[in-house]
Structures are given as C-alpha cells and as structure tokens.
Symmetry: C2
Subunit: 214 residues, 2 copies
Amino acid sequence: MYSRGMGNHQNDGTAIGTPPSSTQERLVTSARELLWERGYVGTSPKAILQHAGVGQGSMYHHFAGKSDLALAAIRRTAEDMRTATDEILSAPGTAYDRVAAYLLREREVLRGCPIGRMTQDRDVVQDPALRAPLDAMFDWLRRRIAEVLAEGQRRGELAAGLDPAATAASVAAVVQGGYVLARAAEDPAPFDAAVHGLLALLATHATPPPPVAP
Amino acid sequence: MYSRGMGNHQNDGTAIGTPPSSTQERLVTSARELLWERGYVGTSPKAILQHAGVGQGSMYHHFAGKSDLALAAIRRTAEDMRTATDEILSAPGTAYDRVAAYLLREREVLRGCPIGRMTQDRDVVQDPALRAPLDAMFDWLRRRIAEVLAEGQRRGELAAGLDPAATAASVAAVVQGGYVLARAAEDPAPFDAAVHGLLALLATHATPPPPVAP
DNA sequence: GTCTATATAATGATAGAC
DNA sequence: GTCTATCATTATATAGAC
C-alpha cells in the first residue's frame, strides 16, 4: 500500500536526503516502471495512479491523458539511458575496450531494455510523438558507437576495413536481440553468449589483440 | 466484412484449390495474425472472432479461452518458422553461405519476428505454457546455427578459433535486435546495417574469403 | 491541486437458444 | 457446433466537490 493524503509527510522511498517528489514526479516515475514491466498497452492509467499513490484527478491535472504521461516517461528514460551510455563510451581506453565496456555493462537482462521494449508496442510506434524519442535514442546510440569505432581506426587500434556504421548497428542489435533470447529462455545466458560472440569477432580486428574476453 | 452463417460457402481467401478452412483453423490463423501485429495483451478475443468471422461461442467451444487459443497460434507459428529456417540452413554451400542466406533472407522487417515479439509480452513470458514454444524455438535456432558453424570448422571453411555457440547466439541476436532498431526508426535500414556488419566480421574468418556481401 | 463519483466503451467469459 | 444475449470487471476519461 502507498500512503495517501498525508500532506508533506509523503516520500518516494528514495535515499535519505532526496527531496520529496512532487505528485508530477511520482507519476512519471511510476509510469516509467510500469511501462518497462508491462508495456504501453498493458499499462492502465489506474495502475499508474495506484502505484504512485495519487487519486484519479491528479493525473489529468498534470497530463492530458495516458499518452501524454507516457511521453514524459519515455523521454525521461531515454535521457537517463543516453547519459549513462555516453559515460561508458566516453571513458578512456581503446575503441575495443569502450565497446566491450558497453556490451559487458551490468544489466538487468531479464527485464530487457525499457526503450527497446516500446518498439514492440503498436500504439507507441504508430504515434509519431511517442516513437520520436525511441528513434532519437537508437539513432544516437548507433552514431556514438560508430564514432568510437572510427576513432579507433584513426588511432590504428582497429582494422581500417571495418565499416563503423554497420558494425555499430551490429553492436546495438546484439544487445537488443540478446534481451529477446534471454527472455525467451528466462535465463541471461543467451544474452551473454551473444555479447561474447560479437566481442570475439571484433577482437580479431583490434591491434594489439585485447585479452580474451572474461 | 466477413461472411457469416453461409454454411459450406465460407472460404478463407487463400489460393484456389485450398480446401475451405474449418472454424477452428480460421480462429488459429486470425489469432496468429493479430498476435503478430498487436501482441498478446493487445489482442482481444473479440478482435480475433471478428477477424475470423465467427460468433462469440465458437471460440469457447474449440478453445478453453484466450490463452489456449494463443498457445495453439504460437505453436503453429513457431513450427512454420522452424521449417522455413531449417530449409535455408540445410541448403548446400559453405557455412558462411548458409548463415548469410539466413541473415539476408527476405523479411518483413518492420513487422518484426512473430515469435520474438511474444518475449516482450509479460503475460506470455510469465505463463510457462506460453513461453515454452518461444524457448524451444530460439534454443533450436541457436543450436542449428551452431551446428552449421561447427560443420564449417570441420570442413576447414571457418577459423577453428570461433566459438560456434556464442557466434550462433550473436547471429540470432542481430536478427532480433535488428527488428527493434528498424521499428524504432520506422525504416529497415538499421536492420540491414546490423546484418551486414556481422557478416563482414564473420567473413574475415572464412576461408576462402567470400565475396563482399551485397 | 487533489480528491471522489460517475460515464462510456471494451474485455474476457458464461448461459442457453437453435 | 454455432449463434446471440448477458455479465462482472477493467480501461480511459470527465465532472465537480473540497
């Protein structure tokens, strides 16, 4: 159960020192969690309200409706993902190291990607406003990985014959597809196998050869 | 509109010479199409009935309910996919050729994979009976691709250093992830890029080197 | 701004006529 | 076997009190 109507005593359960979330913030946070878990079609406004612990009217005061709240939630999730990913890809090291760090990053594999998840939701993909942040996120991701690979080529760390854009698409696809395989198996193993398979292929193009992947 | 109550004159619209489908068959076919397009949560029994052109009661006569019909539909789709895929992977040619044929196979990229799609549906993955055919399908796919790769190694067509299982997982993941990237972009290009990126990496391990991918 | 009450349609399933 | 009628529940949104 969530507390209700308790004035300033409400809290979102985050770390001590965090300022209490506004109703609007709590709605977005709840929407993000439920969209990740259940998808757009499977997430009802009522479920979001109950998860956030607010009444029916509050949502329609802050947002025009379900899709408007979902848009805010998706934008926020994409933003966070971009920030976290850029940090990994911008770290020091060879191009191989940085791509490997991205691929081997700790993930909640069985939960899948909260952004990739949305691409399987008809109502999301068909709404240009809802699809836009997904498109922007994956477009950015492929470009950023391609940059890293191209930089590695300029530095002589990677074979010049590689197509940075195509290889970057493969890297992004292996992650997204790895989630699919893992969820089908209810086991992260296929995700890890897919990642290591790609890294092994990539390693043969790196000079000097990186140590065998863990 | 679909015809109703027309006795033996009903037809499922397939090629001339095809025997008219039974009500049960039409329900399964309709369920397969709608599950592919809208997912499990997004597909209502009513929508299936209307698409099949039968009344409410018929479905509950032939199937125990929504999940039971979905199970029949998913099983059939997985069966068909397995047959079609095995045909490609069992064709003559080098291991590289056969994996390339699988990756470059004509696909309705923006529609995605009807089996992979189901792994993003909470209600499917949480039901052991519904998840089982997904698990079996992808497990078979990875094993079959790994077999092809291992055979290529024995024949001396592929570098012995490759891990067949991991590489096979990468191949399957690139396809599934390619769909995700393509749907986000509403454009098959990222799918094609991901596939060609992986093929280029794989090509460097093939002897003699295959011609540059189309 | 937040709440409860209400409205309208859709969902998933059952009952029982034919 | 197939159909229509019905039902309890949920989804999405609005109205209006506080």
